[in-house]
Symmetry: D2
């Protein structure tokens, strides 16, 4: 338990390392700074715990916003055992892997102007219709390259994502690295994405069935077999719930949990709910180490991750 202590002043100087900055946050230990400092401690422990299976859930357009390689590297380094994300993030990772690009600093009059220029907006990121056309061509080829028996039988979203991963070459792709390293990317709502629309188009003239129960079965099995478990929740939505419900049904709550979100709890949705609420459900253990950080994931997660890596004495062993 945290000890009662004084709030000590933060000092900022030239040349700080990220881990020094986090140390300063920890001296204050309150408000957002205190939470970031606590998140680094928890993430470091989660990564250093050889018995802990680490689950990453993320929603929001993170792969469009330049964050995909972080996840790819985390997989390569053996830091992640399970990923749950949206079809959109899988789509945007594949688009980049296939040579498409997300762009920025576009000047525009209004969204109608963008439509005329065939540019699709994701807040202040943009992607051209052309990138989607390239994606379409290549993904249709990849889908037809998957063994028909697998497609016919009902393919799990995580298996489909692996199949795609085997067939793309970009080492900076999260999807590629997940396939190479046998890390499942669960995507229970895969049909709810551009990738899903491509699967639909493919299914118009070819055989393919998506079996989301296989994703559910697989995550439950992993959860049953895990001694200890840590959750990294970036944003809310399906990824957050899918990770926590695996803990619910197995009766094995999480031992570690960090959540980074801008959503707020009062409106009652799961996305904004505090990790504390998950304790009432048994999704997180009463004596778990957990923290909610209120902030933009693209700022907070790289900051926390960088400091947690510094804190780790040595590499984490395989946990699967």
């Amino acid at each position: 338990m945290l000890k009662v202590s004084e709030i000590r002043p933060i000092k900022i100087s030239k040349g700080l390392k990220v881990s020094d900055l986090i140390h300063e946050y920890g001296k204050a230990g309150v408000f957002g700074a205190g939470r970031v400092s606590r998140a680094v401690e928890i993430l470091s422990e989660m990564f250093s715990d050889d018995k802990a299976t680490v689950y990453l859930g993320f929603s929001g357009a993170l792969c469009a916003a330049g964050m995909r390689q972080i996840f790819a590297e985390m997989i390569k380094e053996g830091l992640l055992d399970v990923i749950v994300t949206t079809g959109a993030n899988v789509t945007h990772d594949i688009i980049e892997a296939l040579g498409g690009r997300h762009i920025r600093n576009i000047k525009y009059l209004d969204d109608e102007d963008l439509r005329r220029r065939q540019l699709n907006r994701i807040f202040d990121a943009f992607i051209s219709d052309e990138a989607f056309i390239t994606f379409e061509k290549k993904i249709q080829m990849i889908l037809s390259d998957i063994e028909e028996k697998k497609r016919k039988n009902g393919i799990a979203p995580f298996e489909l994502i692996w199949e795609i991963g085997y067939r793309i070459n970009d080492p900076n792709s999260m999807v590629r690295q997940a396939a190479l390293n046998n890390v499942p990317i669960f995507c229970p709502a895969i049909v709810d994405s551009i990738l899903g629309l491509q699967i639909y188009l493919f299914s118009q003239e070819n055989t393919i069935k998506i079996d989301p129960l296989k994703d559910l079965r697989k995550i439950i099995d992993i959860t049953f077999e895990s001694d200890r478990k840590g959750a990294i929740i970036l944003g809310g939505g399906v990824p957050k719930n899918f990770i926590f419900q695996a803990a619910l049904i197995t009766g094995k709550g999480f031992d570690y949990a960090i959540q980074i979100t801008m959503d707020r709890p009062e409106a009652g949705g799961l996305s904004g709910a505090s990790i504390a609420e998950a304790i009432s459900w048994g999704k997180v253990k009463s004596d778990a180490q957990w923290v909610d950080v209120i902030g933009d994931v693209t700022i907070i997660f790289p900051l926390i991750l960088s400091a947690a890596l510094d804190n780790m004495g040595k590499g984490k062993g395989s946990t699967r």
Copy 2:
């Protein structure tokens, strides 16, 4: 287009009708009040447009929070043609239909205390483990009552929800009314919910396959066939995206759209994105009538709906 005009003062007195209050909001016409007033106008037009197919997408724990009957009534009144929601909302609607209850005003020490008392928290709403046990028994019976051929073949989430709707008796149930009135409730992420977990348990000893591509095909077909379209988006997540992507793939943007959310746009996630952004994608037409209202759905939606009903001269014909 809205005309340049003076901001006129809001007047509040005893005995106001909801539609009077909205009229006052409209006199000011700015900030949140202006947006609510605009939402009522758009919703009224959407409901009155006989050619418009009306899509409702909602996420967040609305069915746990007493909002399910509103949706049931809207279906009965012929106001809704398509619903997209989360598995959790379907679950909580069914729980109530089967006699389970959500409760409030529980005093508790912390979430650990709630766990000991077998109470699960949804912000300030609660549901007992017992309600889930009742749900389990009845839903397992319902699932085994569904024709095996349907289950084996791969059942669409919307069909499964209809099958359940046929087998429950509560006229205040959204799921029941959807089944009776042939309104599809799409739930592409159905496995991501307590209902999903029950399907998984059922699948351990019985045959059942979920085919989410059928949900996608059905919503695309409806969208192709619709002359005009209106979207009511309450919260974000999968429901918002699934509705808008049907417009994307069919090349037929929405004519009307209102969105109510507490999420903010700057973090880049779809849930907080303005409807304006959807114009750049062609999901909403450039000349559509649309508005974003920032607020708690449980406050704002009943307020807007009540006033929109007052505005409607006559009932809306069937649009399917």
Copy 3:
């Protein structure tokens, strides 16, 4: 204390009165709807309690957004005893009283475009430079019309606002009604506003001193003499703190408090702090009736006020 009870369904139909809608919110009793319902109960009790001095604190550009007449009417009806607000709200009320207008639905390219057109933006409300020029001329005349002895001696912001109120004719002006009804409008940061800038300009060639300690002394005196007290806090900032610190120094916490804000608590600022926090300071009594509503004041306050007026059996007597 609130009793444990079921969450009952909200029903919405044509022709609802605002108080009917609030009754429906109360049946659910959770999330935002529950808080709005609770706020109406508390506001009704606060208004009906003949011994209660009612304090209104508001920040944000409410007078620019068409809300000033609500406050003017509340003063006339004897519902308010003390007001604390920003200099901006006093300024915008006076501007309207002097014939200036706030406008809306302006189309513009960007804020540079607005500057060229001499239009000042307040989110989606606008005011022309011309309105400020009119304000300048008239307010300088009013200031010079105030007895020099008063100005020389150090005038309290609340006295200065009364002096202005005596000299404007608009019955819909909050400032006018406050003067006529002897309700102080405290404005401890009056120099932080366009009105403050006008006082500064006046002071360049005339004698005027602002004595904010007189505002502080007056609110403390009123607080000492009040048997019971209710606070309506719309937004945060100086108005919220100035009301609560009067309770702190007199050792007499508030008996009723409602707060409506979009700010969130985690960042640690007073504006987003829950009313609960004020209990730790003794600013609000432990057994007080209080609620925080998360929402846009221009939507929530007229809604709550309208229903509270309906709930009141009879008029409230003078409380000062």
Copy 4:
């Protein structure tokens, strides 16, 4: 102007310096990460511009949360020319300077429990009644030590704060460093704070007058005389407005502006307003460099400041 470019991937590794992390943010350049990167660029330029007067405005309980020494150091380093803040921040800085401490990690049942234990809560920071009693004794002594002529005449808040600064010894105090370095801390709402309440108590038996017009005059004079100007806005409220209105009345808009806040714009209050809005008023120049960062100041400001210090080739000369 920013050039259209690709969003490049962020890479995170062990041992990163804060400035490396910011460089990674800049490669993505969108969402929150892009804004933080831009804020560092602007802050670096602002600090490096010898002709620029730098204004810091901050609200929220930053001095209670361990941030005071950052401001003290910035003053010592010559990075700040003007400070505008709340009375609360001045109070909490002085409390620490006089030996009082803010504390954290207190376990408590509820806010009533805290009241019984005489602990005052500021979100997750706490301060005992005892610390305020110590503050009272010492501040009363300091006030009586100020020359009576000054007190009688009407003392500007900034002068009063200097007078206090001369009489406390803590080199880590923002108030102390401001006095030593001749940097005005404007506090137009000084009576709205515990320090203000102490001034009130002092005034019961002693002569003291607060003249906030002197704060206004001084900031206007500085603004008139400044060739170029930069604003650092942390949170909103009076500090933000007081800084920008000085630009308004002098007709000299800001050349640089960064704002860090969790408030949102849609509710119309100034605190949540984008810097863009200030361009319509002429408070910020059309061609200014500016950015809004959405986030918790205690996380974001140390991060940005640290990187900006790294970016500065050489020290900034005196700007006043």
